[in-house]
């Protein structure tokens, strides 16, 4: 049988298919469809230090081959998460990666420090798509300096493997990927959603309560594949690829571009069985192709 295990630097996973942050809740809902144990890992909703209400509705807009969301990182905050959601997730035998977000460096550092003390967390994923309030709303994820400083501080504050999730809403993602690597990231996740908006023509106003939202789904896949392809050429750390994956073919594009693992987001909403099906399709593919490890095709499309 083909071995689906992968090593992403310090992070070892039983298979390379993960649930993307924000699309899988804290796992509970999907546990009624299949055993979470099957997943490479569950990356939970972005967690902030204090509870976050999220944005006013509507928060969802369908778009051609995709969707916009403006959830606004609604979550119960660290304390309630550790008390309630985390134990439940662990009891479902899921491999857990925690995605963290903050308005200030201190938010990230406190989260990283506290989560470092908790047993049963595989890794932290830094969501850098939030504006840095102290720096006047500059996004952590699109300034090399702001991002590098944050990553090196978080790196020192915690012992867990550190995944940095990059936003595609930048001029040069390679520059940011390189900066993340040199500041201490162990793994890169790409991509987060692309900023966009929809206007309700009949009301002559933006459809989303928050005006803009993040685009995800098949519509973003070519952008995501291109970014993985470019980043793979210039960094040595492993990449988790995501953006519009719903089947084996989509996932293979990411592996061939250079991702060593993939995450599934919006496709979970369409078919809750997307991830288990993808895992078994991948297993079959590897067997029929005679692959011993997914590493054999990672980056194979590079020219």
């Amino acid at each position: 049988m083909a071995n689906l295990e992968v090593n992403l630097g310090p992070l070892k996973l039983k298979n390379p298919v993960l649930a993307a942050s924000g699309t899988f809740g804290f796992g509970e809902e999907y546990a009624s469809f299949f055993e979470l144990e099957k997943l490479g890992a569950v990356i939970v909703n972005s967690l902030t230090l204090k509870p976050k209400q999220g944005n006013p509705p509507p928060r969802i807009a369908e778009t051609p081959a995709g969707m916009l969301n403006s959830i606004g990182l609604q979550n119960p905050g660290l304390e309630a998460f550790l008390e309630k959601d985390f134990p439940r997730l662990k009891s479902l035998n899921a491999a857990v990666i925690i995605n963290i977000a903050g308005d200030t460096e201190d938010d990230y550092l406190t989260l990283a420090r506290e989560l470092s003390e908790i047993n049963g967390i595989l890794a932290l994923e830094l969501n850098l798509s939030c504006p840095n309030v102290k720096e006047g709303g500059i996004f952590f994820g699109n300034s090399v300096d702001v991002m590098s400083r944050l990553i090196s501080k978080v790196r020192r504050a915690c012992r867990l493997p550190l995944i940095v999730k990059l936003t595609p809403n930048v001029t040069d993602i390679v520059e940011l990927a390189e900066a993340a690597e040199s500041s201490g990231a162990d793994i890169l996740s790409l991509i987060n959603t692309l900023k966009g908006m929809v206007i309700d023509v009949s009301k002559r106003s933006p459809l989303l309560g928050n005006i803009t939202g993040g685009l995800s789904g098949p519509a973003v896949r070519p952008v995501a594949v291109r970014m993985v392809y470019e980043v793979y050429r210039s960094v040595k750390i492993p990449i988790i690829g995501m953006g519009g994956i719903s089947n084996l073919d989509d996932a293979l594009q990411f592996f061939l571009a250079g991702a060593r693992a993939v995450a599934v987001g919006s496709a979970n909403f369409i078919d809750p069985y997307t991830i288990p099906r993808l895992i078994s399709d991948l297993q079959q593919f590897m067997e029929s192709e005679g692959l011993h490890s997914i590493d054999e095709i990672v980056g194979a499309a590079q020219r």
Binding site: R59, Q74, F269
Partner: protein, 261 residues
């Protein structure tokens, strides 16, 4: 649960409004009034998301599940083309159902437009429990009114309102209901579903009327199962703090006092 339901019937009953009968035993057995199905209309990526529809009837003995829908966009338009014998991918039953009080013998069902759908299911169940059913049903014009006789228990009393006066009371269904209140308030509880402005008016007026009242709300959905926080509705807790609940999970049915308009 996720299931392929066979289409028994999918017909236009009044212009622009369709009656869809499905066969799916497990859903038929598990459904309660107020719950909904999240359906995947096509097998590809356009339209991308599933579409939520209230369950308008579920019959555990025949495996039948009904939906009544109005064509408003591309998803419902494509749904209307689904033929007898074809299959529809359904996720459900989902959401929290209506929770009628045991000891209130009169149920007022108040609907605007296709909001009548979940109340038809509720009417059948409550009537089976021996409760008196009063249906207040409004639309903009008579051509949009569904032939309720086909769907309601015989004993249900129906009061119609149309905005243009082409059938029943001329005006809003909420005004029609209010006009009947003077005749003497009975002990009753209200279940309502319809456009948001209608539900908002009802909730405001009911602060004076004081009936127990449950509302079925709509919001745009992605997952439909509580994972994405996409279908948020603003609510007020007992200490008057506001926050968001999920229409797909804690809802679609909410107590009128809970919603922060």
């Amino acid at each position: 649960m996720l299931a392929k339901a066979r289409v028994l019937r999918n017909e236009e009953i009044v212009p622009g409004c369709y009656y869809l009968q499905l066969e799916e035993w497990q859903i038929a057995r598990g459904s309660l009034p107020g719950q909904f199905l999240h359906v995947r209309i096509v097998d590809n990526i356009a339209p991308f998301l599933r579409r939520p529809f209230s369950i308008a009837g579920a019959f555990p003995d025949s495996g039948r599940v009904d939906i009544i829908y109005r064509i408003v966009g591309k998803g419902t338009e494509l749904l209307s083309r689904l033929g007898k014998g074809e299959y529809l991918d359904c996720l459900g039953p989902l959401g929290t159902p209506f929770s009628p009080a045991r000891d209130i013998a009169v149920s007022v069902l108040l609907a605007g437009g296709v909001g009548i759908a979940p109340l038809l299911f509720l009417a059948r169940i409550l009537s089976g429990e021996g409760k008196k059913i009063l249906v207040y049903y409004g639309a903009s014009t008579s051509g949009e009114l569904l032939p309720l006789k086909e769907f309601l228990p015989k004993k249900a009393e129906v009061f119609l309102a149309t905005e243009d006066g082409s059938a029943g009371y001329r005006g809003l269904v909420t005004d029609l209901f209010e006009s009947t209140l003077v005749a003497g308030t009975r002990r009753a509880e209200i279940f309502a579903c319809g456009p948001k402005p209608m539900l908002k008016i009802l909730a405001q007026k009911n602060r004076y009327w004081g009936y127990p009242m449950q509302l079925s709300l709509e919001e745009r959905m992605a997952c439909g199962i509580g994972a994405c926080q996409g279908c948020a509705v603003k609510v007020r807790s007992e200490d008057d703090k506001t926050g968001y609940l999920r229409v797909c999970r804690e809802g679609p049915v909410f107590d009128f006092q809970e919603v922060a308009w």
